[in-house]
Symmetry: C2
Subunit: 330 residues, 2 copies
């Protein structure tokens, strides 16, 4: 009898916790998701993990490891969430809390790190030893691979590129700083810029889509831009150029073989991505740098679960070398 192994990948976000049964090849065999409980992200994570394990067993797979990509700052050694601006973990010791309920090794990393590792393992940056992922969602997540390894830093709080400041006098960010690059390119930022623009341009179709200027969302901006609304296109052009600048900064720091762009905001398409690409090309050319290779995410919404599962598998096969020896026995 051949035993088929699988890893469980879990992606903990502000709206939902997603779980996936992931084959050793990186293929997603099945997936499920629960809405994130408002004050209890850890509780939801445990529920999703248990449900995914049960589903894997029903499908005839033997789960061998659990990988979790969690929104927030993560101490990879302990598997704890140390800071999370956008959701509440009822138990911040996420790895311990999950491991106490499932009899499997549990690996926790930042959600964007997990997604970067997924794109690098089986996605748009497959095999690249130096790559960058920018995830344009509500905020701006990022993950970087340098010399074939994730850039996690001394305490696991690295790769928060969205919170690098590009204007010390800029808008206030959720993280406490002002003028973070996240405030110019994220879904939240685009909605804010669109609302501001609509105050001065009552004839934009964004207002009719949203009901009022104050209610405009990123989706309204994208829709209006597709219908050639000039106010919406101008907002996306401005945000896109800032994304180009952000990518120039990434190139000057990491010189990646490929930059992968993911997240819902990229669905705004050419009115956003065109100016980003043009601005990046212009800046690199000024510096006489080689052109950058840009890719859209190949794994899309599965990047987090695939990457978390891949991290857990790699961690197991490396014998947990990055882990705290105290925890090896659990």
């Amino acid at each position: 009898m051949s035993v088929r192994s699988a890893a469980i990948g879990v992606d903990v976000g502000g709206t939902t916790v997603k779980g996936g049964i992931v084959a050793m090849s990186g293929e997603v065999l099945d997936r499920l998701e629960h809405p994130t409980e408002a004050q209890a992200a850890t509780k939801t994570t445990i529920e999703v993990t248990e449900a995914a394990i049960a589903r894997a067993q029903e499908m005839g797979y033997v789960p061998v490891a659990v990988g979790i990509g969690a929104a927030g700052f993560v101490d990879v050694l302990s598997g704890s969430v140390t800071f999370s601006p956008n959701l509440v973990y009822d138990d911040p010791d996420l790895a311990d809390a999950v491991a106490a309920r499932v009899n499997l090794p549990v690996m926790v990393d930042n959600d964007a790190n997990a997604a970067a590792w997924g794109e690098r393992a089986v996605g748009a940056a497959k095999g690249a030893n130096n790559m960058a992922l920018l995830v344009l969602g509500t905020g701006l997540g990022s993950g970087f691979v340098s010399n074939g390894r994730l850039v996690r830093g001394f305490t696991g709080a690295a790769a928060e590129f969205g919170h690098t400041v590009v204007d010390p006098a800029g808008p206030r960010c959720n993280c406490g700083l002002r003028g973070c690059i996240e405030q110019y390119v994220s879904g939240q930022a685009i909605a804010r810029m669109a609302r501001e623009a609509a105050q001065h341009n009552a004839d934009t179709s964004m207002i009719s889509f949203a009901g009022s200027a104050d209610a405009i969302t990123g989706y309204d901006v994208a829709r209006a831009a597709r219908e050639m609304d000039e106010v919406a296109r101008d907002v996306l052009r401005t945000a896109g150029r800032m994304l180009g600048l952000a990518m120039s900064n990434v190139v000057n720091i990491f010189d990646p073989e490929v930059i992968v762009l993911g997240g819902r905001v990229v669905e705004a398409g050419e009115p956003f991505l065109g100016p980003a690409r043009d601005e990046l090309a212009r800046l690199l050319s000024e510096q006489k740098r080689r052109p950058a290779r840009l890719q859209l995410s190949a794994l899309g919404r599965n990047a987090g679960i695939v990457g978390a599962a891949a991290l857990a598998i790699d961690e197991m096969s490396r014998g947990g070398a990055d882990r705290d020896p105290e925890r090896e026995g659990r």
Copy 2:
């Protein structure tokens, strides 16, 4: 008879090329320097390397490898300088040009990478697997170690943190971009800001030190600040705060165990470093991040030669795994 081995470390800068005879322990046994020939940095590098080898032999040491830290963008695989805004290499294939004259393995990297590796090998960040070096000289050089390895990127053009943009409408930088962080914290930037400030403040002692507002250098600013000149102190305070911001960006990207500050500009002391430290502490505290560990360079002007020598030794002992296999035989 015991054979004493040494490595030759060479630091190629715009003003001088420095050579050092470096023991396997990292100790600098002797050093020499030649002024950099205006249009022929490669020629000067060869002269300094040959002189250092001869000196090592006179001292009874057997040179086993040459490491070169070169100002400019360096392709580590080929040992070539691909772009250098501040000096001219008569032969950009630096590793080949030097190796053709000395019968030793030659390793070339960016000068700030070499310095970072030196601080990490035997200096202020000894043993840190995640560290950052910022070198505040004419420009802003940087080197980063992540997971125990230098961040070099796909083509070796990473770690140009000085050319990350913090204001798209800011002053023009030598690299071609506008508003690079280098334009706010480097020696050149401080001199520019001081000249601007002196136009509006005729009573600053910087003018008497320099002869005229247009002639003010970084040294004049530092001297005037020591003598409590308020205009000079204000310039250094502004630059120091921007250095704090720059370090916050470094922390958000790399989460280093330690940030090492080097270069002549740090000699301006507390009027510059105090505001930098305060601003960094303020920004990290806003983000609820742990405080950063800051260190001044332990190797000072020797960081480049010690680091280049250490890189060459490490490269030899790793069997040149990072090198182009085509080049192994030379």
